[in-house]
Assembly symmetry: T
Homo-oligomer: 145 residues x 12
């Protein structure tokens, strides 16, 4: 089983910015944590990050993995195109957010992407990815099993 971890805009700056919202871990540190858990769960992971809406869509179209763990970041609130990209492939997706989107600006409460995903996890910092990975693997097993 292979999982693609997709990160959207500004996630590459993690650990360098607004740490009250996102914690002080860098993306590399988060990826290591994901890799560790993936090893435990016996799944392969590959990582993708882009600040470009179009490249994220390309990545979704081209992936050959069994599931997508996606943090669309700011694009969650504005991108119908990413929503449609997820709907256009038959691979299950889980949406994750580092911060609690309901505790921030009004315009961050809404997600265009979420309805195209199995579910959404927000507010647990790097932990959101680990929970999301578990949820995704469980979902895929459930469908296969």
């Amino acid at each position: 089983m292979k999982i693609t971890v997709i990160n959207g805009p500004n996630i590459n700056m993690l650990g360098k910015r607004e740490t009250n919202y996102y914690g002080d871990k860098t993306l590399e540190q988060i990826n290591s944590m994901i890799s560790e858990l993936a090893a435990v769960l016996c799944v392969k992971v590959d990582f993708f990050q882009s600040n470009s809406e179009g490249e994220i869509i390309d990545c979704i179209h081209n992936t050959d993995s069994d599931g997508m763990l996606i943090n669309p970041a700011a694009y969650s609130h504005t991108s119908i195109a990413i929503r449609d990209a997820i709907s256009s492939v038959t691979i299950p997706a889980v949406e994750v957010h580092l911060s609690n989107i309901f505790g921030r600006d009004e315009f961050r409460h809404h997600s265009y992407v979420a309805p195209a995903c199995i579910g959404q996890i927000s507010g647990f910092g790097a932990g959101s990815y680990l929970l999301g990975l578990r949820a995704l693997v469980e979902h895929i097993k459930g469908k296969k099993g």
Copy 2:
């Protein structure tokens, strides 16, 4: 460490109703799954379910546990009082939903309760509780450690 699992209105009917949204597990079966995971994580759990907003608030006020795993169900979208109840105690809470709230009626996209919680997990059926329990235990350990 002790965790209180709080379930809101109609959750007692699980497995008996609209199974396309909520899956076919009963509340008892979900509670067993939670208990099992709790044993693995070495935490105690107790369970509470009520269809009454007031009783849920009473439960939040009176609990002596270290964390709350709460599925406010329909009250997520209408209850400012439960939000205030969570804010009125110093115990961390995680909000969970069986179904993907963004994939249902417009009025279910909004949660009054979420901003008073650490984070929110929705869409993974019974799995939402298990993920939420992990997230909550991790959060409490992080604060203690």
Copy 3:
């Protein structure tokens, strides 16, 4: 055939309050009228009234009748939980209102409960219950017959 008549908040004050909206009949008098018609239609009726949203939900879950005649009163406009309660059982429901909800405050025009019911009757005072009982009995017969 058995029908449960469920009345929401403040209906116990009928005949004692704002009589321009609701008429001067007490709840007991309305119940008598319902019982009389029920006898004519050869159905049993039992009566429930509560000012508590939670108790109304409990009642809906626990009833063993063939149909529910429900006046959710003010909860019509605010309770998603009662709507979900009705959806969670397989018993048909009819929503009734004493006053014409479209002729009052803007916030009373909307009903969260109605979409979970077969239909809605409003504006005929005590008569709304009698019409609702006929509609409900007819509906149940139609499904059985």
Copy 4:
């Protein structure tokens, strides 16, 4: 006592269209059912149907009956003129709908016509007319009696 039954746009197509919403009875069949009940209730009925907002208003102005049973169909949601027409005569009216208007498109939840009527009945198919006729006759008797 005489009652005018007024049907709005597309009701002449009943039984020929979207039968999931409106049932499979034709307007003629519904009219027969109304006539039968009218006989039982000892009232005369005449029938009017038009797809034209203006003709419906003309009918309301010109009727010499004691009450109006009106299904304004789509005009419920758009016609202030029909509302004003009902207010311009001293004859009581009851609004009926075949389908449960709260269970359909958002723009069908609202009725401009309802505030000018005694009450509204929706969701019982052909039964809505029969219930409406009873309600109307009862109302007129109440005022006369």
Copy 5:
């Protein structure tokens, strides 16, 4: 110079209905008052009233007068078609209302028709027509002169 006076839905019921809003003059009496003032102003007038949106549009298209004095009544608030009809002819129009539309229901504050007219006069009962006639005649003279 010839002026067409166009009245919309329910205006034929004037003097017979809700007299608190519209006064107790009948349409015939208002027409007489208009005719008298027209004689003083040396203009010819003809009168048209219909409850049908379509017939009002037909009338606007077919008139050979120099100006239109129009009370669209309820259609002011709902008819884009009448607005377009006025725009489609090169004859100036003045919109009048018997009652003060800003002092009634919220949905009566808005007029689709007004932007296609020179101006609007509301609130002076039958007087609105007389003022409108003066305004219209003055306007036409201004353009001719």
Copy 6:
């Protein structure tokens, strides 16, 4: 009989500004036209103009005339205080506008002041005042007569 003509902000600039909306007549020229018509109608007029909301309210409170002809200009859309000032005296008022307020910016369609007046006249340039004077005098006579 005495009438006070009250003009709001920027009306003193008439004939010097945006002549496509307001015509090329100065306030003095309009006042002369009003005086002429007043003489014909045998009423006295005095004139007041201010750019200050407070001074307009003072004027309304202090006037000893029998009626007020008021063009609140931009304050129509923002001043609840002027509305309340008119309601606080027992002198009838007519609201006039030079331009057709429905044909301009969305925020000019609404008038806080209108509901406190008998009626509103807009779109006839200087003519709006003359029509308003007639309407006001007629109204006062009607109440006296």
Copy 7:
């Protein structure tokens, strides 16, 4: 194969009005163009135009053609009844507009009628009808073929 071409309010005034929006062709000229293309495509066409919402609905109900090419004009934005009329027959419809509805007033961007049609074509003047005819014929053939 027979196609009915249905035109709504004010379309009879084409070529005589606001030519910046609608071009300078009359309805007769457009009908000739449609007839020519119909001949090329080997389909029969008949033409209907009315300013009355009700008559348009009657026409939709009564047509025995294989498809409807409809320009509802202003009724697109206000008529739920025409939408329901199209849904009430089993004949496919294509909505056309002479002008680009997205480039005009906000209230013209919305169409109640479009969801009941196969598709919508707007902005190509008389060309919209010719494109619509091609689309409709193609659609019918596709279903038959």
Copy 8:
């Protein structure tokens, strides 16, 4: 004279929670302050607190006091049922809030309950109750005297 003091959800947690909003006094301390002032004003007081909307309504229905001093807390913003409960009895009520509701979340600016009360006092901490008690006693005396 007897006054019932009714406190809504989470008020039992006062002094234990968010002290920046509500101050550090416990409900018991506030009740003592109220009792003291009541003694000065020569009125009896009894106290009621509940986290349940339904129990608050029951309390309102059953009280035999001459006035109600009510802090509906979070239910102010969501409960039409409590509003109706106050309207259903003939006992005057005063609404009080510890914090300044206009200085907090947007959704706390609105009160469903206020229109059913004589007036509202917010922002003075425990002082709001004392002011409210004075206002209520004064009001009752005014009506009796």
Copy 9:
């Protein structure tokens, strides 16, 4: 200790206008009542009333008192400038209203001024000032003491 009592537009007309909303006391009578209570509370008071937003702001800037008791009347709902004026001085303010603002027009429910004040009291007629004075004096003492 000195308190400035500031009254906004139309308050000078009290006792002369809409007495159903505001009672029949004149401003002078209210001022006397305030003076009497001030004497009891051992504070000095001076009085200011203006219909001008700008003069009210000037007054707020120039006062050398220890507190402000302000009834901004209609300006509560429209004046951001008065809100900013209160924020620009370090003197505590209490907002009062004669009538219950929640029981009147929708646009009177909102106050721009309230968030800059300690609290708000509305609905007790002249009593609102007396309660406000007590609240203000108490607040100042609390801060001093």
Copy 10:
């Protein structure tokens, strides 16, 4: 004459995704159909597809064709930048959509791009492109001719 066909996000997945909305033709098949028609109409076509908003804008800036046939897909509803790009060149554009945008999610009814185009065609599957090509060629000829 040369036409550029521009396709937005996810159109490269056609025939592989949600076929109920978009049909089962791949982009290559659609392009072939366009090429065939182009040959008939004696125009050259070139094709561009990108999932990136920026690349679509680049393409619009750089094209040397005589017209643009554009399906902005999800970007129709969110991209002001593409709208501005079309406005920034002097080449006419036609917007096309495979599905009927009015028959889908509310947020797909709106197009930021449409006002910068001649017109819009939606709902005819691959046929939308063919109709759009005809419309565009016709438009260019009309301007040249």
Copy 11:
């Protein structure tokens, strides 16, 4: 060349209030800075400040300068009258704000005044005036030159 610097409500309190938003410079200090830059740019400046909307309008009407540098402060968000005043004179205006209006309350994001100005500068404290003066002088020179 002469420039009038116009400051709206509460600007006279600068340096004395909420210094986190507006900095600690007094209006006199800002005026000195403006005078200095004016000398460099070889233009005359005069200064006006008022808390009264009406006086600001008077000032705009009466100025004989070549340009206006205006900080309408709170009136930016509420005054259509000041907008109209600027439009009523032929003198160019630049709007400035000390604070970044987009970073504050929602109701401060909007400016009624801005569309009547050449442009708007906000967020640079006293620097906003200096930038505005440069912009205005440049603009006037551009038109003269």
Copy 12:
């Protein structure tokens, strides 16, 4: 000191498009003007323009300058991602617009980007950049000095 000048979508087309909004200067000419002023102010500048939201974010992340002068063009109104990118670096930014955004379409009045910047300058054509450069340099000096 080094400043990065960042231009968003369609700015590369300047001088070639809608010159009524943006003037006739090309981007190269504007850049020359900026370079000249930069030389005067003794700061280095480098220039970046892209039509891609993602590339603009990349540029913001990678810049090693002391300040950013950014014209996000259409992305101002739609890009939360660019706002977050600016927040994610510790480099101050100034937002500039060529045209007066308040004088154009409603959807251009709002800026997602502005709250992450020091301030905003709009409406002065190429001059907006020069003013912005001054503001930015002044700000950086102020923080350093």
